[in-house]
Protein backbone atom coordinates (compact mmCIF):
# COMPACT_ATOMS: atom_id res chain seq x y z
CA UNK A 1 0.00 0.00 0.00
CA UNK A 2 1.75 3.18 -1.16
CA UNK A 3 0.16 5.20 1.62
CA UNK A 4 2.21 3.42 4.26
CA UNK A 5 5.53 3.90 2.48
CA UNK A 6 7.37 6.50 4.57
CA UNK A 7 9.71 7.40 1.73
CA UNK A 8 7.70 10.49 0.75
CA UNK A 9 6.15 11.34 4.13
CA UNK A 10 8.44 14.31 4.69
CA UNK A 11 7.96 15.56 1.16
CA UNK A 12 4.17 15.36 1.45
CA UNK A 13 4.14 17.06 4.84
CA UNK A 14 6.45 19.78 3.56
CA UNK A 15 4.41 20.59 0.47
CA UNK A 16 1.14 20.27 2.40
CA UNK A 17 2.46 22.84 4.89
CA UNK A 18 3.60 25.14 2.08
CA UNK A 19 0.43 24.97 0.03
CA UNK A 20 -2.02 24.92 2.91
CA UNK A 21 -0.29 27.86 4.62
CA UNK A 22 -0.32 29.79 1.36
CA UNK A 23 -3.98 28.96 0.80
CA UNK A 24 -4.91 29.92 4.37
CA UNK A 25 -3.06 33.24 4.28
CA UNK A 26 -4.33 34.09 0.80
CA UNK A 27 -7.96 33.34 1.66
CA UNK A 28 -7.68 35.06 5.03
CA UNK A 29 -6.07 38.22 3.68
CA UNK A 30 -7.39 38.51 0.12
CA UNK A 31 -10.34 36.38 -0.93
CA UNK A 32 -12.53 36.29 2.14
CA UNK A 33 -12.37 40.05 2.87
CA UNK A 34 -13.39 40.65 -0.74
CA UNK A 35 -16.42 38.40 -0.49
CA UNK A 36 -17.24 39.88 2.91
CA UNK A 37 -17.08 43.39 1.42
CA UNK A 38 -19.46 42.42 -1.36
CA UNK A 39 -21.89 40.79 1.05
CA UNK A 40 -21.71 43.77 3.40
CA UNK A 41 -22.19 46.20 0.53
CA UNK A 42 -25.25 44.28 -0.59
CA UNK A 43 -26.66 44.14 2.92
CA UNK A 44 -26.11 47.89 3.29
CA UNK A 45 -27.85 48.51 -0.01
CA UNK A 46 -30.78 46.33 1.04
CA UNK A 47 -31.00 48.06 4.41
CA UNK A 48 -30.81 51.44 2.73
CA UNK A 49 -33.57 50.54 0.28
CA UNK A 50 -35.69 49.11 3.06
CA UNK A 51 -35.30 52.22 5.19
CA UNK A 52 -36.03 54.55 2.29
CA UNK A 53 -39.07 52.42 1.42
CA UNK A 54 -40.22 52.74 5.00
CA UNK A 55 -39.68 56.49 4.90
CA UNK A 56 -41.64 56.80 1.67
CA UNK A 57 -44.41 54.71 3.15
CA UNK A 58 -44.54 56.99 6.17
CA UNK A 59 -44.68 60.02 3.89
CA UNK A 60 -47.45 58.42 1.86
CA UNK A 61 -49.38 57.70 5.04
CA UNK A 62 -48.93 61.30 6.16
CA UNK A 63 -50.19 62.59 2.83
CA UNK A 64 -53.12 60.20 2.99
CA UNK A 65 -53.92 61.47 6.46
CA UNK A 66 -53.78 65.04 5.23
CA UNK A 67 -56.10 64.21 2.35
CA UNK A 68 -58.52 62.52 4.71
CA UNK A 69 -58.40 65.48 7.03
CA UNK A 70 -59.15 67.83 4.20
CA UNK A 71 -61.97 65.62 2.98
CA UNK A 72 -63.45 65.55 6.47
CA UNK A 73 -63.06 69.30 6.81
CA UNK A 74 -64.69 69.85 3.44
CA UNK A 75 -67.51 67.53 4.44
CA UNK A 76 -68.07 69.43 7.66
CA UNK A 77 -68.02 72.74 5.82
CA UNK A 78 -70.46 71.46 3.25
CA UNK A 79 -72.77 70.15 5.96
CA UNK A 80 -72.61 73.51 7.69
CA UNK A 81 -73.37 75.34 4.45
CA UNK A 82 -76.26 73.01 3.64
CA UNK A 83 -77.67 73.52 7.12
CA UNK A 84 -77.28 77.27 6.85
CA UNK A 85 -78.97 77.35 3.48
CA UNK A 86 -81.82 75.19 4.70
CA UNK A 87 -82.26 77.43 7.72
CA UNK A 88 -82.21 80.56 5.59
CA UNK A 89 -84.71 79.05 3.17
CA UNK A 90 -86.96 77.95 6.00
CA UNK A 91 -86.84 81.40 7.55
CA UNK A 92 -87.60 82.95 4.21
CA UNK A 93 -90.51 80.61 3.61
CA UNK A 94 -91.95 81.13 7.09
CA UNK A 95 -91.68 84.91 6.84
CA UNK A 96 -93.31 84.85 3.44
CA UNK A 97 -95.99 82.52 4.74
CA UNK A 98 -96.67 84.79 7.69
CA UNK A 99 -96.86 87.88 5.50
CA UNK A 100 -99.16 85.97 3.19
CA UNK A 101 -101.26 84.98 6.17
CA UNK A 102 -101.44 88.61 7.24
CA UNK A 103 -102.46 89.70 3.77
CA UNK A 104 -105.09 87.04 3.62
CA UNK A 105 -106.40 87.91 7.04
CA UNK A 106 -106.60 91.55 6.06
CA UNK A 107 -108.35 90.68 2.83
CA UNK A 108 -110.77 88.39 4.67
CA UNK A 109 -111.55 91.03 7.25
CA UNK A 110 -112.00 93.67 4.48
CA UNK A 111 -114.30 91.35 2.64
CA UNK A 112 -116.26 90.66 5.83
CA UNK A 113 -116.59 94.38 6.42
CA UNK A 114 -117.77 94.93 2.89
CA UNK A 115 -120.24 92.10 3.18
CA UNK A 116 -121.55 93.55 6.42
CA UNK A 117 -121.80 96.97 4.85
CA UNK A 118 -123.61 95.68 1.80
CA UNK A 119 -125.89 93.68 4.04
CA UNK A 120 -126.79 96.83 5.91
CA UNK A 121 -127.36 98.63 2.65
CA UNK A 122 -129.49 95.82 1.40
CA UNK A 123 -131.48 95.85 4.60
CA UNK A 124 -132.03 99.57 4.20
CA UNK A 125 -133.11 99.09 0.63
CA UNK A 126 -135.45 96.32 1.68
CA UNK A 127 -136.95 98.68 4.26
CA UNK A 128 -137.48 101.34 1.62
CA UNK A 129 -138.94 98.78 -0.76
CA UNK A 130 -141.26 97.53 1.96
CA UNK A 131 -142.33 101.11 2.70
CA UNK A 132 -142.89 101.87 -0.96
CA UNK A 133 -144.76 98.64 -1.62
CA UNK A 134 -146.85 99.06 1.52
CA UNK A 135 -147.55 102.65 0.58
CA UNK A 136 -148.58 101.69 -2.93
CA UNK A 137 -150.62 98.70 -1.79
CA UNK A 138 -152.40 100.64 0.91
CA UNK A 139 -152.85 103.54 -1.52
CA UNK A 140 -154.45 101.25 -4.13
CA UNK A 141 -156.67 99.37 -1.73
CA UNK A 142 -157.71 102.34 0.31
CA UNK A 143 -157.37 106.04 -0.06
CA UNK A 144 -155.29 106.33 2.99
CA UNK A 145 -152.00 107.94 2.36
CA UNK A 146 -149.40 106.76 4.74
CA UNK A 147 -146.37 108.79 5.57
CA UNK A 148 -142.95 107.26 5.40
CA UNK A 149 -142.31 107.88 9.05
CA UNK A 150 -145.39 106.02 10.18
CA UNK A 151 -144.54 103.04 8.03
CA UNK A 152 -140.99 102.99 9.21
CA UNK A 153 -142.18 102.99 12.78
CA UNK A 154 -144.44 100.05 12.13
CA UNK A 155 -141.66 98.18 10.36
CA UNK A 156 -139.28 98.85 13.17
CA UNK A 157 -141.77 97.55 15.71
CA UNK A 158 -142.39 94.45 13.60
CA UNK A 159 -138.77 93.82 12.85
CA UNK A 160 -138.23 91.88 16.03
CA UNK A 161 -140.80 89.31 14.92
CA UNK A 162 -139.01 88.93 11.52
CA UNK A 163 -135.82 88.05 13.00
Amino acid sequence: MPQLNPEFFVSQLFWLAVFFTFLFVFLWRVSLPRIATVLEKRQNKIDENLSSAKELQEQAMEIEKKINDQINKAKLETDEKIKETINALQENVSSQLSSLDKDLEKKVSDAEKEILKSKDDQMKNINNEIVNITKLTVGKITDIELSDNELNKVIETQKGSFN
Partner: protein, 244 residues
Protein backbone atom coordinates in the same frame (compact mmCIF):
# COMPACT_ATOMS: atom_id res chain seq x y z
CA UNK B 1 5.19 -2.01 -4.09
CA UNK B 2 2.02 -2.77 -5.94
CA UNK B 3 1.99 -4.69 -9.15
CA UNK B 4 1.85 -2.91 -12.48
CA UNK B 5 -1.93 -2.99 -12.88
CA UNK B 6 -2.90 -3.12 -9.23
CA UNK B 7 -5.84 -0.89 -8.19
CA UNK B 8 -3.52 0.63 -5.62
CA UNK B 9 -1.01 1.79 -8.24
CA UNK B 10 -2.92 5.05 -8.58
CA UNK B 11 -1.90 5.98 -5.05
CA UNK B 12 1.82 5.66 -5.75
CA UNK B 13 3.85 8.80 -5.43
CA UNK B 14 6.13 9.74 -8.32
CA UNK B 15 8.65 12.51 -7.85
CA UNK B 16 8.48 15.16 -10.56
CA UNK B 17 11.68 16.88 -9.47
CA UNK B 18 13.98 15.62 -6.77
CA UNK B 19 14.69 18.15 -4.05
CA UNK B 20 16.63 17.58 -0.87
CA UNK B 21 16.74 19.96 2.08
CA UNK B 22 18.83 19.39 5.20
CA UNK B 23 19.08 15.69 4.49
CA UNK B 24 15.33 15.32 3.99
CA UNK B 25 13.72 14.29 0.74
CA UNK B 26 11.21 17.03 -0.12
CA UNK B 27 10.81 16.15 -3.77
CA UNK B 28 8.03 17.86 -5.69
CA UNK B 29 5.77 14.89 -6.48
CA UNK B 30 2.49 14.18 -8.23
CA UNK B 31 0.89 14.63 -4.79
CA UNK B 32 2.45 18.09 -4.44
CA UNK B 33 1.32 18.86 -7.99
CA UNK B 34 -2.29 17.97 -7.09
CA UNK B 35 -2.04 20.25 -4.06
CA UNK B 36 -0.70 23.02 -6.28
CA UNK B 37 -3.60 22.56 -8.71
CA UNK B 38 -6.05 22.56 -5.79
CA UNK B 39 -4.65 25.77 -4.32
CA UNK B 40 -4.59 27.44 -7.74
CA UNK B 41 -8.17 26.44 -8.49
CA UNK B 42 -9.39 27.76 -5.14
CA UNK B 43 -7.47 31.03 -5.14
CA UNK B 44 -8.13 31.82 -8.79
CA UNK B 45 -11.81 30.94 -8.57
CA UNK B 46 -12.43 32.93 -5.41
CA UNK B 47 -10.43 35.88 -6.71
CA UNK B 48 -11.66 36.09 -10.29
CA UNK B 49 -15.34 35.48 -9.62
CA UNK B 50 -15.50 38.22 -6.98
CA UNK B 51 -13.28 40.57 -8.96
CA UNK B 52 -16.09 42.82 -10.14
CA UNK B 53 -17.51 43.02 -6.59
CA UNK B 54 -20.94 43.59 -8.10
CA UNK B 55 -23.94 43.96 -5.86
CA UNK B 56 -25.99 41.80 -8.17
CA UNK B 57 -23.73 38.77 -8.49
CA UNK B 58 -22.91 36.81 -11.61
CA UNK B 59 -23.47 33.05 -11.42
CA UNK B 60 -19.82 32.42 -10.66
CA UNK B 61 -19.70 35.10 -7.99
CA UNK B 62 -22.82 33.56 -6.50
CA UNK B 63 -21.02 30.24 -6.15
CA UNK B 64 -18.22 31.91 -4.19
CA UNK B 65 -20.74 33.71 -2.00
CA UNK B 66 -22.70 30.51 -1.43
CA UNK B 67 -19.54 28.73 -0.29
CA UNK B 68 -18.71 31.65 1.99
CA UNK B 69 -22.20 31.68 3.48
CA UNK B 70 -22.29 27.89 3.73
CA UNK B 71 -19.23 27.77 6.00
CA UNK B 72 -20.17 30.98 7.84
CA UNK B 73 -23.58 29.46 8.60
CA UNK B 74 -22.03 26.17 9.65
CA UNK B 75 -19.65 27.93 12.01
CA UNK B 76 -22.27 30.22 13.55
CA UNK B 77 -24.68 27.28 14.01
CA UNK B 78 -22.15 25.12 15.82
CA UNK B 79 -19.84 27.56 17.60
CA UNK B 80 -21.84 30.81 17.70
CA UNK B 81 -20.30 34.26 17.80
CA UNK B 82 -16.95 32.94 19.06
CA UNK B 83 -16.55 31.06 15.81
CA UNK B 84 -16.07 34.09 13.57
CA UNK B 85 -12.32 34.36 14.14
CA UNK B 86 -11.81 30.73 13.03
CA UNK B 87 -13.76 31.27 9.84
CA UNK B 88 -10.71 31.70 7.54
CA UNK B 89 -9.16 28.50 8.87
CA UNK B 90 -12.32 26.38 8.63
CA UNK B 91 -13.07 27.80 5.20
CA UNK B 92 -9.53 27.05 3.98
CA UNK B 93 -9.76 23.54 5.39
CA UNK B 94 -13.14 22.89 3.78
CA UNK B 95 -12.08 24.25 0.40
CA UNK B 96 -8.73 22.43 0.47
CA UNK B 97 -10.33 19.07 1.22
CA UNK B 98 -13.29 19.64 -1.13
CA UNK B 99 -11.28 20.77 -4.15
CA UNK B 100 -8.57 18.20 -3.32
CA UNK B 101 -11.23 15.49 -3.52
CA UNK B 102 -12.68 16.97 -6.71
CA UNK B 103 -9.26 17.26 -8.36
CA UNK B 104 -8.82 13.60 -7.49
CA UNK B 105 -11.99 12.78 -9.45
CA UNK B 106 -10.36 14.03 -12.66
CA UNK B 107 -9.03 10.99 -14.54
CA UNK B 108 -5.25 10.43 -14.21
CA UNK B 109 -5.14 13.06 -11.50
CA UNK B 110 -3.68 12.22 -8.10
CA UNK B 111 -5.89 12.31 -4.98
CA UNK B 112 -3.78 13.65 -2.10
CA UNK B 113 -6.66 13.22 0.37
CA UNK B 114 -6.31 9.47 -0.11
CA UNK B 115 -2.99 9.60 1.73
CA UNK B 116 -3.22 9.05 5.46
CA UNK B 117 -0.19 11.22 6.14
CA UNK B 118 -1.90 14.24 4.53
CA UNK B 119 -5.26 13.77 6.21
CA UNK B 120 -3.57 12.99 9.51
CA UNK B 121 -1.50 16.16 9.30
CA UNK B 122 -4.64 18.23 8.70
CA UNK B 123 -6.47 16.47 11.54
CA UNK B 124 -3.46 16.92 13.82
CA UNK B 125 -3.42 20.66 13.13
CA UNK B 126 -7.10 20.79 14.11
CA UNK B 127 -6.55 18.60 17.19
CA UNK B 128 -3.50 20.47 18.49
CA UNK B 129 -5.05 23.85 17.73
CA UNK B 130 -8.29 22.98 19.50
CA UNK B 131 -6.44 21.57 22.53
CA UNK B 132 -4.33 24.73 22.84
CA UNK B 133 -7.51 26.79 22.44
CA UNK B 134 -9.15 24.81 25.24
CA UNK B 135 -6.26 25.47 27.60
CA UNK B 136 -6.21 29.18 26.64
CA UNK B 137 -9.92 29.51 27.34
CA UNK B 138 -10.21 27.40 30.48
CA UNK B 139 -6.64 26.90 31.80
CA UNK B 140 -6.24 23.82 33.95
CA UNK B 141 -10.05 23.56 34.18
CA UNK B 142 -10.01 22.20 30.62
CA UNK B 143 -9.35 18.76 32.17
CA UNK B 144 -12.91 18.82 33.56
CA UNK B 145 -13.89 18.20 29.94
CA UNK B 146 -13.30 14.51 30.70
CA UNK B 147 -15.58 14.63 33.73
CA UNK B 148 -19.22 14.10 32.83
CA UNK B 149 -21.56 15.74 35.36
CA UNK B 150 -24.78 14.07 36.44
CA UNK B 151 -23.38 10.55 36.35
CA UNK B 152 -23.24 8.28 39.46
CA UNK B 153 -19.82 8.68 41.15
CA UNK B 154 -18.89 5.00 40.77
CA UNK B 155 -19.11 5.35 36.99
CA UNK B 156 -16.35 7.94 36.80
CA UNK B 157 -13.38 5.54 36.99
CA UNK B 158 -14.82 3.94 33.88
CA UNK B 159 -16.04 7.04 32.05
CA UNK B 160 -13.02 9.31 32.47
CA UNK B 161 -10.63 6.93 30.66
CA UNK B 162 -13.24 6.45 27.94
CA UNK B 163 -13.54 10.21 27.52
CA UNK B 164 -9.74 10.63 27.41
CA UNK B 165 -9.38 7.88 24.82
CA UNK B 166 -12.21 9.26 22.70
CA UNK B 167 -10.62 12.72 22.87
CA UNK B 168 -7.19 11.41 21.89
CA UNK B 169 -8.65 9.35 19.05
CA UNK B 170 -10.26 12.41 17.45
CA UNK B 171 -7.39 13.11 15.03
CA UNK B 172 -7.27 9.44 14.09
CA UNK B 173 -11.01 9.15 13.42
CA UNK B 174 -11.02 12.48 11.59
CA UNK B 175 -8.11 11.57 9.32
CA UNK B 176 -8.95 7.91 8.78
CA UNK B 177 -12.55 8.75 7.84
CA UNK B 178 -11.44 10.97 4.95
CA UNK B 179 -8.50 8.78 3.92
CA UNK B 180 -10.52 5.54 3.95
CA UNK B 181 -13.41 7.03 2.00
CA UNK B 182 -11.12 8.33 -0.72
CA UNK B 183 -9.03 5.16 -0.81
CA UNK B 184 -12.06 2.88 -1.02
CA UNK B 185 -13.85 4.96 -3.63
CA UNK B 186 -10.90 5.26 -5.97
CA UNK B 187 -9.91 1.63 -5.52
CA UNK B 188 -13.45 0.52 -6.35
CA UNK B 189 -13.49 2.68 -9.47
CA UNK B 190 -10.17 1.22 -10.55
CA UNK B 191 -11.30 -2.37 -9.91
CA UNK B 192 -14.42 -1.88 -12.03
CA UNK B 193 -12.39 -0.11 -14.70
CA UNK B 194 -10.26 -3.29 -14.84
CA UNK B 195 -13.44 -5.34 -15.39
CA UNK B 196 -14.41 -3.16 -18.35
CA UNK B 197 -11.17 -4.13 -20.08
CA UNK B 198 -11.00 -7.75 -19.06
CA UNK B 199 -14.61 -8.82 -19.65
CA UNK B 200 -15.30 -10.47 -23.04
CA UNK B 201 -17.16 -8.80 -25.91
CA UNK B 202 -19.76 -6.21 -25.07
CA UNK B 203 -20.32 -7.34 -21.46
CA UNK B 204 -17.83 -4.67 -20.45
CA UNK B 205 -20.61 -2.05 -20.70
CA UNK B 206 -22.09 -3.29 -17.42
CA UNK B 207 -19.10 -2.42 -15.25
CA UNK B 208 -18.78 0.76 -17.34
CA UNK B 209 -22.34 1.78 -16.44
CA UNK B 210 -21.53 0.97 -12.85
CA UNK B 211 -18.47 3.22 -13.01
CA UNK B 212 -20.59 6.09 -14.31
CA UNK B 213 -23.01 5.72 -11.41
CA UNK B 214 -20.16 5.26 -8.96
CA UNK B 215 -18.46 8.43 -10.21
CA UNK B 216 -21.58 10.38 -9.30
CA UNK B 217 -21.57 8.77 -5.88
CA UNK B 218 -17.87 9.54 -5.47
CA UNK B 219 -18.47 13.23 -6.26
CA UNK B 220 -21.17 13.22 -3.59
CA UNK B 221 -18.77 11.56 -1.14
CA UNK B 222 -16.05 14.07 -2.05
CA UNK B 223 -18.36 16.88 -0.99
CA UNK B 224 -19.74 14.99 2.00
CA UNK B 225 -16.30 14.19 3.42
CA UNK B 226 -15.17 17.80 3.09
CA UNK B 227 -18.37 18.83 4.85
CA UNK B 228 -17.85 16.26 7.61
CA UNK B 229 -14.26 17.38 8.06
CA UNK B 230 -15.37 21.01 8.40
CA UNK B 231 -18.33 20.35 10.69
CA UNK B 232 -16.26 18.16 13.03
CA UNK B 233 -13.64 20.89 13.19
CA UNK B 234 -16.41 23.32 14.14
CA UNK B 235 -17.68 20.96 16.84
CA UNK B 236 -14.20 20.53 18.27
CA UNK B 237 -13.75 24.31 18.36
CA UNK B 238 -17.10 24.53 20.13
CA UNK B 239 -15.92 21.98 22.71
CA UNK B 240 -12.88 24.15 23.40
CA UNK B 241 -15.27 26.97 24.39
CA UNK B 242 -18.02 25.08 26.12
CA UNK B 243 -17.03 22.26 28.43
CA UNK B 244 -19.80 19.86 29.44
Amino acid sequence: MAAKDSPLKQFEIDPISNIELGGYNISFTNSSFAMLITVLVITLFLTLTVNTRSIIPSRMQLISELMYNFIAQLLSDTVGDNGKRYFPFVFSLFMFVLIGNMVGMVPYQFTFTSHIIVTFALAAVVFIGVTILGFINHGIKFFTFFYIPGVPFYMHPLLIPIEVISYLSRPISLSVRLFANMLAGHTLLKVFAGFVVSMPFFTGVFPLAFIVALTGLEILIAFLQAYVFAILTCLYINDAYHLH
